[in-house]
Symmetry: C2
């Protein structure tokens, strides 16, 4: 589809953008267009003073008393409550601690403890591999009690049967940006008596999520993509209230004890989401995540989604119009309801082409075998960025700027 | 034993102390004597500029490229290598990630995977409860395959038999400061064909540890006590080289994959300690820990141990001399080879007495039912602190300053 738009039109879109002012909440280099917030979000300006206060005024001055005096001990639940609005949950159903890997492990084990008479974990075949590794680890640890099956994302609902204990899936596919219908898939899974665990890492902060309304059983997500919590920011975890008190997590964490400070010899679970807590949480990383979330405080998440859809659809249109002739192909769904906040473009020379873009200050990333990924974080990506990136991509492709030896040396990408 | 020493003698000890200059590496309030570094270490000055550089120059400017450009991706192993000297290990046998709880879980499961024909975990009865909770959680998760037995610390070696797969113990007791003979206990455990997992949380940084020379199988420890890595700093984990490649950890972490960036569908373990890695690590907390360790860079750990023993033995002598008459009793072993770097004092009114000390600027802590704990971190605790704290304790006890309603209200302590 030809857009017949000019850069001037994109300048005007920025002028009318009600979220335009949010960009000032981030520290971004002037000479970079950053379209990799789906991997590591940009740095919110509020993080530095928050971390400095935690180190210099709390830890340095009040020392061990800070655990209570500055509320450190409650941060896993406080930050969980702050994440609740992004995932459509009650504040008391979310906690933050540990990595996504550890939280997936917790929830897979919890689900199997609830589903005593079923032994299959059905994973999305193209799910982020790290998620499926966790399921493989649980299966090996529990021996013959667990079997793993895989199904394509659009086959998940159809492939659930009476043997399936748990379905493990991502709302937004990390490769293609394809979004599943969480409500419909969850309903289909429940109809077969199975439970579902959604990974929201590529969706929280940019797409609508309604865990409570959709009756989702479990969810996890990372804090460092669209939530901008910083590299390796702690992960969040959601447990539907009906499952909170019926089983015990695999880690009997001291913070999840009913009386964590009584130092009793036997672990007894706390009530509610609190029992999912583990060991002493990393406070510097937690306060950073909390400060990052504040960048959304006065922001209507529907406006974020609207801008995300507008950015990505304009990007798709411009790539079609200007770059299709070079053999690139947008693989991200064009229907709004099936698209997250990234656009992936297939190209035979995707790896060196992305290197050439990076050399020109456009940061996206590469995913094997042939995808260039571009993530659009509506709080700091501008409409003019969309125009400029496609113009630079056009230049890279038309001049075959990617065809240089230094761009062909594969390094690992995150 | 009467010491017949005066405060002047302690002033002279500080003057002669070769570690005295290390105190400047920490940010400590002027009006506080901090003897709770066994719970949360004081804040090294180097942490703030390090974290600021990570946020402002690395994350903010180089964004996602920092994973490789600034070596973030290798930090779990780099910081592990930096911890190796504190625990007497080869640099390649230690990694840092996640909480102590999660690392204990990893190693208990790994040990059980190695010891296929044994089912008992023998835990130290008075071990830090959080450690034993982890063992209880593993036992529940694995069902009838695992049984937990408990033994007193000095009975551990005697109570190991041919059913025991793993012994779980702390080198230094968190309540009393009693230190076990790691070499002898490890040898006795091995003679019965069992493996041992030591928790070094209360010993690394203050007492000699020789994991490699003592042929220890597994160890964990936290980063936030005597290592000063900050509240909830990541935990370290040691696996003896002979066990690194013979079994698989419970978490199949993407960073522990043989090819973490290949995004293969099946998890394949990396070689060596790397396979123990889990998910994306919390970089801000990791760089803080790394900066904290640098406070020890030019420090001979034997000098640290010598000063620790001197501080604690003077403290014990002064408490005996000046405070025994009030009914307080030192419960920490007086023999150097059985003492860590804390002194615990039993007193009927320990809780309000500690509150009265805190009100006077002396920060120690309380452990139920009747212990006042005083931790001595040789890098920043002075000899005059020892004198002054005992003088203040004497005043608190002689004036019954603890007998005030506001000191009796129990709050939780960490």
């Amino acid at each position: 589809m030809a857009t017949h738009l000019s850069r001037e039109d994109f300048v005007r879109m920025d002028e009318k953008d009600i979220l335009a002012g949010c960009r000032e909440r981030f520290r971004l280099p002037e000479d970079i267009i950053y379209l990799d917030g789906n991997s590591l979000g940009a740095a919110p300006i509020a993080i530095m003073p928050t971390v400095a206060r935690t180190i210099e005024q709390e830890w340095s001055r009040d020392l061990v008393r800070s655990w209570t005096a500055h509320g450190w001990i409650e941060l896993p639940l406080d930050v969980g409550a702050a994440i609740a609005r992004f995932v459509g949950a009650r504040p008391e159903d979310v906690m933050v601690a540990d990595s996504t890997t550890v939280n997936l492990f917790r929830l897979v084990c919890l689900a199997l403890a609830i589903q005593k008479n079923r032994r299959v974990i059905l994973v999305e075949r193209d799910n982020f591999p790290a998620d499926n590794y966790v399921a493989q680890g649980v299966a090996e640890l529990l021996g013959g009690r667990v079997e793993i099956r895989a199904a394509a994302g659009d086959r998940l609902a159809a492939d659930v049967d009476g043997d399936v204990a748990l379905v493990l899936a991502s709302q937004v596919d990390f490769r293609t940006g394809r979004m599943l219908d969480m409500s419909a898939v969850t309903r289909a899974v429940h109809e077969q008596g199975a439970l579902i665990l959604w990974d929201l890492s590529h969706s929280a902060g940019v797409v609508p999520i309604a865990l409570e309304a959709d009756d989702v059983d479990f969810a996890v997500g990372c804090g460092y993509k669209y939530l901008n919590g910083g590299p390796g920011a702690p992960s969040y975890l959601y447990v539907q209230r009906r499952w909170q008190d019926v089983a015990r997590p695999p880690f009997f964490g001291w913070l999840g004890h009913a009386s964590p400070f009584a130092l009793e010899p036997q672990w007894q679970p706390a009530a509610g989401i609190r029992r999912m807590l583990g060991g002493t949480p990393p406070i510097l990383s937690l306060v950073a995540l909390k400060a990052a979330l504040a960048a959304f405080d006065d922001v209507d998440l529907r406006a974020v989604r609207a801008k995300s859809l507008s950015l990505t659809s304009h990007f798709i249109d411009l790539v079609d119009e200007r770059c299709a002739r070079y053999g690139v192909r947008v693989v991200t769904p064009r229907e709004d309801e099936r698209r997250g906040s990234q656009v992936s473009v297939a190209f035979e020379h995707a790896y060196p082409a992305m290197q050439a873009l990076i050399a020109r200050g456009v940061i996206g990333d590469f995913r094997a075998p042939d995808l260039m990924r571009f993530g659009f974080a509506p709080l700091y990506v501008r409409y003019t960025d969309v125009w400029d990136v496609v113009a630079i991509l056009d230049e890279v492709l038309s001049s075959r700027a990617w065809d240089r030896p230094e761009f062909l040396r594969r390094q690992y990408v995150t």
